[in-house]
Amino acid sequence: MKTKTVMILLLALAAANIAIFFFNPEKALSVIFISKNYILEMLSILPPILILIGLFDVWVPKSFIEKAMGKASRLKGILFSILVGTAAMGPLYVAFPLGRSFLKKGASLFNVSIFLCVWASIKIPMILFEIKFLGADFAGLRLALTIPSIIAISWILSFILKGDGIYETA
């Protein structure tokens, strides 16, 4: 989305929030309060993660990523992508810039897609939480189904987007 579009939407949200304030101040404040909590939560982890991404961009050589996640990496590439996705921490919007630097450094679209989906859905603390609240049967079965699904999604995705040259060099 363009910066201008985002600015317009932000102004619309602000206008809506002010309008609601006149009809129902309690709700308007609740919107602000919830948003503030999320912003604080994000700011508590975003800066260090961005610093790590910047350092990664400068220090990790292209040849290493090319070898570990490139077209010729095969099974090792899949395992490496799953490992990085699981081990890394933070919300999905942090994975986007990192995934893009992987692509820039020669990783295959297939492996970057695996990395993104794994990052989004498989996290050890998250699994522990799921077991606690939804039961081990549910969590275990979902995990067992998620991994092959991610590989299938990424395979179909890389097949569909094969012709799009920009994704190889983006």
Binding site: M1, G54, D57, M89, Y93, F129, L141, L145, I160, L161
Partner: protein
């Protein structure tokens, strides 16, 4: 706790980097800043939208639509709901567990949890920024379809 670990880790790595090369570290921080600029406004927009959503969407209404009698329709609705909202998994799992105990359909819960983590309509603008429209559209659509398949299998096994 987790935040603290990340801060300490990045401070350590930054210190090591600075010790080895002042130039590289400066370049690295420039990259970080560039990403921050690309993310900041979009994040503010996403978060503000969540504020509206969480304030105006009553939870009883959600439960009525994903109860056991709602069946497949409830599951698809739950999958859409999971795609739209952006809730921390740490908040979503207890919520989903509470719904399950109150009689929500296990397929609906599985669809909700799976689309919640894999499909992101709210984060799509950011994804497009980094990977383009076609990648974002296809990744999210495929994830949605597979989430439904996963939910159906879980429903069949855990019934």
């Amino acid at each position: 706790m987790f935040a603290l670990i990340i801060w300490i880790l990045s401070a350590l790595v930054l210190a090591v980097s600075f010790y080895h090369s002042r130039e590289n570290t400066k370049d690295a921080l420039k990259v970080s800043l560039k990403f921050f600029r690309a993310l900041a406004l979009s994040i503010l927009m996403i978060v503000w939208s969540i504020g509206f959503l969480m304030t105006f969407l009553p939870s009883e209404a959600i439960l009525n639509t994903v109860g056991q009698q709602a069946g497949i329709k409830g599951m698809v609705l739950a999958a859409f709901f999971g795609s739209l909202v952006l809730i921390q998994a740490f908040i979503a799992f207890p919520l989903a567990g509470a719904f399950l105990r109150q009689g929500a359909d296990v397929r609906a819960i599985a669809a909700f949890v799976t689309t919640l983590v894999m499909v992101g309509v709210a984060t799509a603008p950011l994804e497009i920024k980094f990977f383009g429209k076609r990648f974002t559209l296809w990744r999210n659509c495929l994830s949605f379809i597979f989430a439904i398949i996963i939910a159906l299998i879980i429903g069949a096994v855990l019934r």
